[in-house]
């Protein structure tokens, strides 16, 4: 593992290559809100990434909106999506919630793939980046780094405000003992749904940026299950709280890049195995 981390640090020590790290940081903070602070481990958090990404792309392609308007709309849409489905999936806890979110992500991906007229065949959608019809000039690599950096900073600042707020107090006791929190007068369900929806907003915003970055979109790209796993692993490895998810994001980024530079063809398999190993070690503590 140390070798992989070292190789990762070497491979990535160049400008314009921080996008993945910063993306991981935003996603980790998103998962932190529901999995870390509220104690509801979502294994389908990528659903928000996908919904935010699609909405951003659709707003740009269909409505011709600027990316800088479309992305917040995508984040808002993902938050509303969380509000709409949160009450349903948050009725179950623990492993049942994990499965419910996994199914939610799979079902949403399937619906978007086959929705007639929403995108091209099989949900394929391309954001035009050349010619007269491009809604926003596409930023270069450093530009994307800057957008991701801003998102990561906003996410982390948001989480640090939230943990000190009344909602943060409610989430802390819900994580400890949900029944008891209710019996003491804490409005449990609204607090959980709010956390889920806020976590959706962060992942949705990240999905919007990612959509503009890759431009050629498909359900497989925007709903990649590996992203859900990355989110879980970042918080499990780095810890919850305000800074833990950032630590976890750095760790995962180094691991994945290191493995990628040593043995590119094995990257996904190795990263997934390492993540499972990290989760198992952490769980065993």
């Amino acid at each position: 593992m140390a070798v992989a981390i070292g190789a990762g640090a070497l491979a990535l020590a160049r400008p314009g290559s921080l996008d993945t790290l910063l993306l991981y940081a935003v996603l980790a903070q998103s998962w932190n809100l529901i999995g870390g602070l509220a104690g509801y481990a979502s294994f389908g958090q990528v659903v928000f990434f996908g919904v935010g990404g699609y909405l951003t792309a659709l707003a740009m392609v269909r409505l011709g909106l600027s990316f800088y308007l479309a992305m917040p709309l995508g984040g808002l849409g993902a938050a509303l999506f969380g509000l709409a489905v949160g009450d349903l999936v948050l009725r179950v806890r623990g492993l049942y919630f994990a499965v419910a979110t996994l199914v939610l992500a799979g079902a949403t991906k399937a619906v978007l793939s086959s929705w007639p007229g929403l995108a091209g065949p099989s949900g394929v959608l391309t954001i035009t980046t050349v010619g007269l019809h491009q809604p926003t000039a596409r930023p270069g690599p450093l530009g994307f780094d800057a957008v991701y950096l801003a998102l990561a900073a906003v996410s982390t600042a948001g989480v640090s405000v939230l943990v000190r707020s009344r909602l943060g107090d409610s989430l802390a006791v819900i994580r400890d003992d949900e029944d008891l929190a209710g019996a003491l007068g804490i409005a449990v369900r609204p607090a959980k749904v709010a956390a889920f929806s806020l976590s959706g907003a962060l992942a949705g915003l990240a999905g919007g940026v990612y959509a503009f970055q890759v431009t050629a979109l498909s359900p497989a790209v925007l709903f990649a299950p590996l992203l859900s796993v990355v989110m879980v692993a970042a918080v499990v490895a780095g810890g919850a709280g305000v800074l833990g998810p950032l630590r976890g994001a750095v760790l995962l980024w180094l691991l994945s890049a290191g493995v990628g530079s040593l043995a590119p063809e094995l990257r996904d398999v190795l990263v997934a195995s390492l993540i499972v190993a990290v989760v198992l070690v952490e769980e065993g503590r």
């Binding site: 009344r166 006791v173 400890d176 003992d177 029944d179 008891l180 209710g182 019996a183 007068g185 804490i186």
Partner: protein
């Protein structure tokens, strides 16, 4: 606050736990809820506060039906639930446990502040920065009662408070119950240990298989050999010579 429970039916999945349980607690009254393990005492309390909603019947708090209301409603109306066992927010400190409870019912004003809880339970003040999960059983019991009090309730539901406590702490618990009564708080005390309940309440209900088998004064319970054997208690301590 007057609590009137009428004909509650509660299920856990297919299991019909409460089969028409009814009871009344008058304002400021201390009432015992007796019964063996598995009779449905905890379920009845959970159904009253809305943690395990009953399928039919009514839970009237000052005439308002809370059967289908979420748990926080009853807490904010002044009905505090003190669950059994080590149910504290274990990762929070003692002070944070109290603070969270106080803030969860912001509109309830009354004599109970954190300061007063620390005066009544000086031991809690000594451990106020300690994690609640690391407290002794007696300290956790104090914390659970203190946590109920800072919401300034009008009635307290206590589920098996003597469970797992050392005899000396059980005696102290009796004194705390006396304090609640002097403060004019209604009490519903679910107890398997009938002797403790009989010593600290004037009236009681005997729950058996989800139904009220008996309702009456403590004298009546002591006078009936059948009830005493059902509860597993011997003669009245003052009458045995």
């Amino acid at each position: 606050m007057r609590l009137v429970v009428e004909g509650l039916h509660t299920y856990y999945g297919a299991s019909h736990v409460l089969q028409g349980a009814s009871l009344v607690v008058e304002p400021g009254e201390a009432v015992a809820l007796l019964g063996r393990n598995g009779a449905g005492k905890t379920t009845l309390m959970r159904s009253i506060v809305g943690l395990t909603p009953a399928r039919s019947g009514s839970v009237l708090v000052d005439g308002r039906d809370l059967r289908r209301a979420p748990p926080y409603r009853s807490a904010r109306l002044g009905l505090a639930f003190v669950p059994s066992g080590r149910r504290v927010f274990s990762s929070l400190s003692v002070a944070e446990n109290l603070e969270v409870a106080r803030r969860s019912c912001p509109r309830r004003r009354g004599p109970w502040t954190l300061k007063r809880v620390y005066e009544v339970f000086p031991k809690l003040a000594e451990v106020r920065t300690r994690r609640a999960g690391h407290l002794s059983g007696g300290e956790q019991q104090m914390l659970k009662i203190g946590r109920a009090l800072v919401t300034n309730p009008e009635m307290v539901l206590l589920d098996e408070p003597t469970e797992g406590l050392a005899p000396a702490v059980v005696e102290e618990l009796g004194q705390w119950l006396g304090l609640l009564t002097r403060e004019n708080l209604g009490i519903l005390l679910a107890e398997q240990s009938a002797a403790f309940a009989l010593a600290h309440t004037a009236r009681g209900y005997l729950l058996e298989k989800g139904r009220m088998r008996f309702e009456g004064t403590m004298e009546e319970i002591w006078d009936s050999a059948e009830l005493r054997s059902a509860l597993g208690v011997a003669e009245h301590p003052n009458r045995t010579r």
